[in-house]
Amino acid sequence: MTDLFAARSQMAMSLGFHIIFAVIGIAMPVLMVVAERRWQRTGDAIFLELARRWAKGTAILFAVGAVSGTVLSFELGLLWPGFMAEAGAIIGMPFSLEGFAFFTEAIFLGIYLYGWERVSRRAHLSAGVLVAISGALSGIFVVLVNAWMNTPTGFDLENGRLVRLDPIAAMLTPTAFAQTLHMTLAAYAATGFVVAGIHALGLLADPLNGFHRRALAVALLVGAPAALLQPLSGDLCARVVARTQPAKLAAMESHFKTERGAPLKIGGWPSGASGETRYAIEIPKGLSLLAFHDPDAEVIGLDAFAPRDRPPVAVVHIAFQIMVALGFFMAALAAWSLALTARRQELSSRRWLLRALVLAAPMGFLCIEAGWVVTEVGRQPWAIHGVLRTADAVTPMPGLVVPFTLFTLLYCFLGFIVSWLLYRQVLKSPSAKETDLAVEPSHGVSG
């Protein structure tokens, strides 16, 4: 393993680990606040129980998110000092804003988790709302940095150095809106679906359980609209990528030859050597249509780039296919659930819907991981697109396989413990008998 590859692996692993907790930290507060608000409005104690249990799980996840986020902020320098020395001054702004958003999030999460008996009901709910808002904002600020790496703006390049910096312009790059929207929706969709899946599993075993029924309703309220909107924001992202990062789009679509009326390849296995994509379903003119909304538009292929400027095709293409396929499955499931809800039908008695929701539980997170592979591996060989190569940004520290191994083992261990603790917490869900009494008076407000 070369040092560069070890550094990239450590960064990818750290990001891939942290993003799970970051996403939950963004979306779980919304679920908790919705449940708590319903309890306050209806007096239905099961909603309070739900908010408290979710808060407990969130406390563990948020702590791991906070410390793994700290690791990342250091790793920017530990692994990529060349990047930070060059880019720190221009992308520091969103990081500073993120620092304050995260500060606010941590303060009010402390109040939310430990303040049930110490502050008024209204103050407690407001603390939850502030956690949700600042959580979303910190996610947005961090993604702004990534958007800048994809489409860097706000500077002039002189002899390879960034000069005449404009940090505000660097926050408003061409990909900024599409990427932040896509990621924020992803956070709500992934978290909503994982929670929905867990409680759908509970309902399959215990169909009358009022606890799981309410939990499912709240989880889908947050997750389903986001999942439904996600293909639209994805389309927006892809069109921006087509315009600003043609090599990344070509890798995503495994599009080797520049042509007009380019076909869309679904699935398939790209072979970098031959420039072919085997076993793919081809839709004529599909790619031109999707990328530029014009069936005859020219789509630049990988052949337009020197081999040393091409991203790895197979990884990016396959990750992209996984994200799109799972994303559409979730969107369809969201449409199904929302249609049933609109017709005032009880979701918990639809066993096939519940089974599909169980199946979809991990999909949002798989989509997020795959999506980050697309955007990060798809930008290679660049750390800052067109400005700084990843190989030129890496630390001169030798033996990087050692910290990579160390942090991988640490995170595997933590991941295992967190899963175990949450699994135990889920196992302890109240049974139908326990919730029976509380279900009756609140009928009709839970859905």
Partner: protein, 335 residues
């Protein structure tokens, strides 16, 4: 004065302010973990409960001070951050492992669900040991910075670039000093956290012991600094502000100890915080105008003016949100 009042200096000072916040608040949380490890006597379990209750609601907020330090450093002085992160890769990585284990283990223990004796004890142990090791590594990194060894200029070979700068007696002195300070702060704060006289007495004794450890570590570090960290050592002994600073620090230390002795815990808390802050600022002043001695000065590695100006505005705006929130948090959970 006019040459001091520059934009880069202002931001460097604000970084020290944020570091000061981290030391006084986040540091005390680590100190709490140390006392968890050293909990003893008939009230051992109650000591641990008190520590957990004191840290629980606030440690994540306190931890963010460190993120603010890092973000300000890489935004306003990117080359300095790159140099530090390169040369101190090993101790910083180990410190991060400590930070991760401390935070996660504390959360695992607090939210373990059912009161499972064995598992909670195990996580408590991980939390406590990580709380002990992390401040030492932080102190080692700060010591390496202060000793002017964080520089690759004219060095070759793995050991001389990546190991020698921090594997020195002075750095272990600063590591011990940091640990002693954090434990001291925590013990003093904990006397205010409880109304139970017996527990107060426990932490009063621990605070006095820690004060003695601080004194020893500080004296040792000062002597070692004359050999290993000449710049800081000279500053701390010869600069015109050195005598007044030492007098002020000494006064704060004596006040803290007297207040502890007389069981005036609120006063002891203020004096202890002042003492630790003065030591931090003494170090910062001693290495002025260097950010990373002996090569990188504050003015020399500062980011372009627009970045510094925007950072200042961000800090001003952020503080407007942050300060009332922090006051609210501490008013809810602290006395």
């Amino acid at each position: 004065m006019s040459e001091l009042a520059t934009l880069p200096n202002a931001l460097a000072a604000l970084i020290v302010v944020a570091l000061n916040g981290y030391v006084l608040l986040g540091g005390a949380d680590f100190g709490g973990g140390v006392w968890d490890l050293l909990a003893s006597g008939p009230r051992r379990d109650r000591q641990r409960v008190l520590i957990a209750e004191a840290i629980g609601p606030i440690w994540e907020a306190n931890h963010v001070w460190l993120i603010i330090v890092i973000v300000l450093l890489f935004t306003c002085f990117p080359a300095a951050f790159a140099e530090l992160a390169t040369t101190l890769h090993i101790p910083l990585s180990l410190m991060l492992v400590g930070i991760v284990l401390r935070g996660s283990a504390f959360a695992f223990r607090s939210h373990h669900g059912e009161e499972n004796g064995a598992a909670q004890l195990r996580w408590g142990r991980v939390f406590a040991i990580a709380s002990l090791v992390t401040p030492v590594l932080l102190g080692i990194c700060l010591g390496a910075l202060a000793s002017g060894a964080v520089s690759r200029a004219g060095k070759a070979g793995f050991v001389s670039v990546f190991v020698a700068p921090w594997l020195t007696p002075f750095c272990f002195g600063t590591g011990a000093l940091t640990l002693a300070h954090f434990a001291f702060l925590a013990a003093v704060y904990l006397t205010v956290e409880t109304r139970e006289p017996a527990l107060q007495e426990d932490f009063r004794r621990k605070a006095l012991g820690a004060a003695f450890a601080v004194f020893l570590a500080a004296a040792l570090t000062l002597v070692l600094s004359l050999f290993n960290a000449p710049l800081v050592g000279r500053g701390l002994t010869a600069a015109p502000w050195a005598i007044p600073l030492h007098l002020a620090t000494g006064a704060a230390a004596v006040t803290a100890i007297c207040a502890l002795w007389q069981r005036r815990y609120a006063a002891a808390r203020i004096a202890a915080a002042a003492q630790v802050s003065l030591i931090l600022w003494g170090w910062a002043l001693a290495q002025y105008p260097y950010l990373v001695p002996p090569t990188l000065t504050i003015a020399g590695v500062a980011a372009p003016r627009i970045t510094l100006t925007l950072s200042l505005w961000t800090l001003a705006g952020g503080t407007l949100v942050l300060l009332p929130s922090l006051v609210y948090l501490f008013r809810i959970f602290k006395r």
